[in-house]
């Protein structure tokens, strides 16, 4: 199944990345679309010019003098047809970093493998029972010489170089690499128009069809990841997402690169954006740890 992305470029494009992700105004001339193409090309809402609309949220942290905040629409989940409420500012050092695909790949591979323990184990010739005695004498029997019936060349013998015992594939990437991976994932989502900012997660009904309908109408994609800060979520959205496989809700501390790549679209609340900016920007101006950050420092938590 293919989906063609048609983007209508607006005024704020200078701030966005023109990498291999975002398409030009027309599809490339050498693109051949199959005749049985499913799905409507996504039409991106034209980006607002930064001057006329009031900005509903400014960044708390200082922005470097040579950068300007990235802007995006603020939406609401109240009704299917509700228009965007306004424009919000996002910090460029979190939502507009250079997209390093190698770092993204490294973090994704790390997330898959660091928890892996492979339990495969096979018996070697020492562990297979039997095989202590020389089967026949060395010379004179006319048969090949052997020392034990469980050597690897024998049927039923041990394995010479098999997997040995539970092996752990644990390793840790540097903290700053993992943080950069998160920033790159957020940047990619924003650049590909798969990031949606929402004021709160209040929905009118606990019906899962409402959310699916909303996501389909707003062209959010096949799967949506909803992120909010805190331990309590509104009951409606919890019930709605409980039975759905493709729309999931997680707290902001659970945000990770694998989930962001697995789900097509990412929905953040304003508090989640504030939390992420605060946490991810701290790594840019922190000292190297004298002792683990779990222990108290004078300005943490």
């Amino acid at each position: 199944m293919f989906r063609a992305t048609l983007t209508v470029c607006g005024g704020g494009i200078a701030k966005r990345l023109f990498s291999s992700f975002s398409g030009e105004s027309a599809l490339p001339s050498n693109l051949r679309l199959p005749p049985n193409l499913i799905g409507v090309p996504r039409e991106k809402r034209a980006f607002p010019a930064s001057t006329d609309l009031p900005v509903l949220r400014r960044c708390e942290a200082d922005i470097p003098a040579h950068l300007a905040p990235v802007q995006t629409w603020l939406q609401s989940l109240e009704s299917r047809h509700s228009e965007p409420l306004g424009v919000v500012d996002l910090h460029p050092d979190v939502f507009s970093v250079p997209v390093r695909l190698d770092i993204l790949h490294a973090v994704e591979v790390w997330q898959r493998n660091f928890k892996r323990i492979s339990y495969a184990k096979v018996k070697s010739r020492a562990e297979v029972s039997g095989g202590g005695r020389k089967p026949w004498k060395q010379k004179g029997s006319g048969r090949a010489r052997h020392g034990s019936i469980r050597s690897p060349i024998w049927r039923g013998g041990g394995v010479a170089h098999g997997p040995r015992g539970p092996t752990s594939y644990y390793y840790m990437l540097p903290m700053k690499v993992r943080v950069q991976g998160l920033k790159i994932a957020l940047t990619s989502k924003l650049a590909q128009d798969y990031l949606h900012i929402v004021d709160s997660l209040e929905i009118p009904t606990p019906d899962p069809h409402y959310l699916q309908d909303l996501a389909k109408h707003r062209q959010w994609g096949d799967s949506v990841l909803i992120v909010d800060v805190g331990e309590e979520f509104p009951q409606n959205i919890l019930q709605a997402t409980e039975s759905l496989k493709t729309i999931n809700i997680i707290p902001a501390i659970g945000l990770n690169v694998h989930s962001m790549l697995k789900h097509e679209s990412l929905v953040l609340t304003l508090e989640a954006v504030k939390f992420l900016e605060k946490k991810l920007l701290w790594h840019d101006t922190r000292f190297t740890p004298l002792y683990p950050f779990k222990l108290p420092y004078s300005d943490l938590p």
Binding site: P64, A65, H66, P98, R100, D102, W282, D284, T285, R286, F287, P289, L290, F293, P296, Y297, S298, D299, L300, P301
Partner: protein, 175 residues
Amino acid sequence: MAAPFRSVFMTLSPGGLIRSGIAAPAGSVANARACLRSEHSSTGGRGVDESVDEYKYVERLVPPSRIPSPPKHEGSAPSGWTPPPETPPSLPYMIRRSRMHNVPVYSDIKHGNQKSTLVRKVEGDVWALNKDVKEFLQQLTGRETATQVNEVTGTVRIKGHFEKELKAWLIQRGF
């Protein structure tokens, strides 16, 4: 924000009240005496002094986690450090300061004899910076210097040790 937990300093006094040797404001001492006296009377024989005031001496030793921004200097500081200007220069590229507010130029040596200088944290047009660096070093040394540009990471590696000169040049250009 101060650490959330406070430890309690207990001084056992055999049969009487022992003031802590550290001076405290008169009001708190009076209150401390009042509550100590009541404690002493309730516990009976041995009095136990509870005081959390001394924890401030521990709190002031706990280090911060965030690098502070440097104090304002006009021109260069006595150590030779120059603060970054308020407005960035109007060039097609931008070189940020490191987290310790220094110019990100580093010298490297491999296999004992291969010397190179690395300029990191370049944003914008890296090739324009490469051109400017080559021109500057041409004037400095009189011959062409080999450079390697990495667009993905935003770095320029120059053959030879030119750390001091490049740092001074970048500061003079306004980074």
